[in-house]
């Protein structure tokens, strides 16, 4: 019985191919748009969450304060108000998991005939832990390297490509500002940061080496930033308060005076970026859903015309024994079949479009099973919802009048 009805629905669709195609088109565009928009939106969310994972979790960054030189204030991080002792003191705070003081700058590096300008970070071994940054080759430097200020370097992928090419960099000597450094390890690739910088275009050296050999001239022991990792998400506010009061006390700041340092919650910044992309992808999905709705109304429209056109047929079917529910089922199935076939074509176009976007713009796209299931269930729901009214209208026809209908 059901398969016979399904056959009838298929038959009826084939009877007026152009009209069936145009009805389906609304569904095709709707589902295609939803799948494509969700793929792009989820792709953006995926990129952001990748960047957040690459950054490390529950992080604060403490920047040294601005300095005023001849009335002109330079940006934060230039004055030498933070030092290694501050970093050591922060380690003692409640809820702090890791602390990494940093000093950094740009320098020209040379290997053989090649040279490259890159950013140099001087820090302690704790830095790799708080940033959850692994090595793909070689070893990290240790606390003894910090104490004796050895000239060793960890090197990023972009730097390797530019000065080493295919040569294995481990154990090779590079020159940074004329000082020879031995490459100890290769940093895992982290890709772009949230603000679009290439995080692999970098070299990490021991903090003391950087302070003495590369970026001298600053107050001895001073650092530009301290990265602080909290134990957990819950400890973030406690650690933030602790940082502020500890550093103000250590720097002998009076009540009400402006701090000579800045504490930034990196995780909060990242979360707000993630929130923004999530909102954006929901918005895209919502706009695309409107076209699904329009497609559904198109189906209802055509089904109503179809019921009127086939009034006589409905009368004949009733006269030879069709019950109300048989007629209802027949027209409902027709609407559902149109919806689902349209949905399949739309799915195909949406996935194709997403792949095209990926190839043409290099933007990440994610086609999740979730969005496919969603599109499918919405299509079936639209079919039932917008097919029901016309189908009920057909089922409620008076057989005598329907038979007389010309």
């Amino acid at each position: 019985m059901f398969t016979a009805m399904l056959g009838e629905a298929w038959h009826a669709m084939g009877a007026n191919r152009l009209r069936t195609f145009l009805t389906m088109l609304g569904m095709v565009i709707g589902v295609g748009a939803v799948v494509l928009m969700m793929a792009v939106g989820q792709g953006a969310q995926y990129s952001v969450s990748q960047s957040i994972n690459a950054m490390g979790s529950n992080l604060f960054i403490v920047l040294s304060g601005s300095q005023t030189a001849g009335g002109a204030r330079t940006g934060g991080g230039n004055a030498s108000t933070l030092n290694v002792k501050d970093a050591d003191a922060i380690t003692e705070l409640d809820g702090v998991k890791g602390v990494a003081p940093l000093t950094m700058g740009n320098a020209q590096i040379v290997y053989g005939a090649n040279n490259w300008s890159t950013s140099i970070i001087g820090t302690t071994p704790a830095y790799l832990e708080v940033r959850s940054w692994n090595l793909t080759d070689g070893y990290a430097f240790s606390d003894s390297d910090i104490r004796s200020a050895t000239r060793v370097a960890l090197i990023g992928k972009t730097v390797i490509q530019n000065i080493f090419g295919d040569v294995d960099p481990i154990g090779k000597t590079i020159r940074i500002k004329q000082n020879p450094f031995v490459v100890m390890g290769v940093l895992e690739s982290k890709g772009q940061s949230l603000d679009g910088r290439d995080q692999d275009d970098t070299i990490i050296v021991p903090l003391t080496t950087a302070q003495r050999k590369l970026f001298g001239g600053q107050t001895p022991g001073s650092v530009r930033q301290v990265i602080v990792q909290a134990d957990s998400d819950k400890m973030m506010p406690i650690v933030e308060d602790g940082l502020n009061s500890l550093l103000r006390q250590r720097h002998n700041m009076r009540e009400g005076a402006e701090s000579d340092f800045t504490v930034r919650n990196l995780t909060a910044l990242a979360n707000s970026a993630a929130e923004t992309t999530r909102t954006m992808s929901m918005l895209l999905g919502a706009i695309a859903s409107v076209s699904l709705l329009v497609g559904g109304i198109g189906i209802m429209n055509i089904m109503l015309v179809s019921v009127t056109e086939r009034t006589r047929e409905i009368g004949i079917r009733m006269a030879i024994g069709a019950r109300e529910r048989d007629i209802l089922l027949q027209f409902l199935l027709e609407a559902i079949v149109i919806s689902i076939v349209g949905c399949l074509i739309g799915l195909f176009i949406g996935v194709g479009g997403a792949v095209l976007v990926n190839v043409l713009t290099d933007a990440a796209v994610v086609i999740s099973g979730q969005s496919v299931v969603l599109a499918f269930s919405v299509a079936a729901t639209v079919g039932v919802f917008f097919g029901f009214y016309p189908a009920r209208k057909a089922a409620r026809l008076n057989p005598i009048e329907a038979l007389r209908y010309q």
Partner: protein, 238 residues
Amino acid sequence: MAKNVIFIKDLYKHYETAAGPFPVLKQVNLSIDSGDFVAIMGPSGSGKSTFMNILGCLDKPSNGEYTLDGHKVSQLDDAALAKVRNQTIGFVFQGFNLLARSSLLDNVALPLVYAGLDRAERHARAKILLEKVGLGKYLNSRPNQISGGQQQRVAIARALVNQPRLILADEPTGNLDSITSEEIMGLFEELNQDGITIVLVTHEPDIAEHARRQVRFLDGRIVEDSLSQNRKMIEETV
């Protein structure tokens, strides 16, 4: 098995109009025996079409009693009425009323869809009936590819496919020429000889002569109920 296929007592039917109820059938009494062949005659507006709709369970009487094959029709719900139309009655219409988009085989098999038979069974039975009405060669043709007389044969095959006890034919020859009409009436006579009760509406006396019994309507009442001339002769001879 009930001797009466149809038993009608004090049947009234009126339509609601703006000017109040308009009576169409007034106190109709009729009993049709199993195996009978009845022609219903009368001018336009005499109520014969409404009467046929009530007989076919497509319409309900305003008042009175209609018993079909032992069941009181007024006590049946819509689904049960649909089942009666599917299994007890076969309809033949003036305009053939075939589905233009479907093959002859599918047209004939359609009532079996609503009877819940599977596809192979449906097609097997439809094929037998199309062969019986002489259209075995056109199983996959469309209704618009064959003549009017052939279309009416298809319609008769469709009416027969569920082995009904009763065939209701509403001016089945109204759209056909006289030679084809004779052929169709010959087919009805054969069916009647097989034991199927036939009720047919017509306003052509020649056609009505094929029936055994003629019932004449006028202004919503039965004014005449008699045997056909040639049947009288046959039965008198016997």
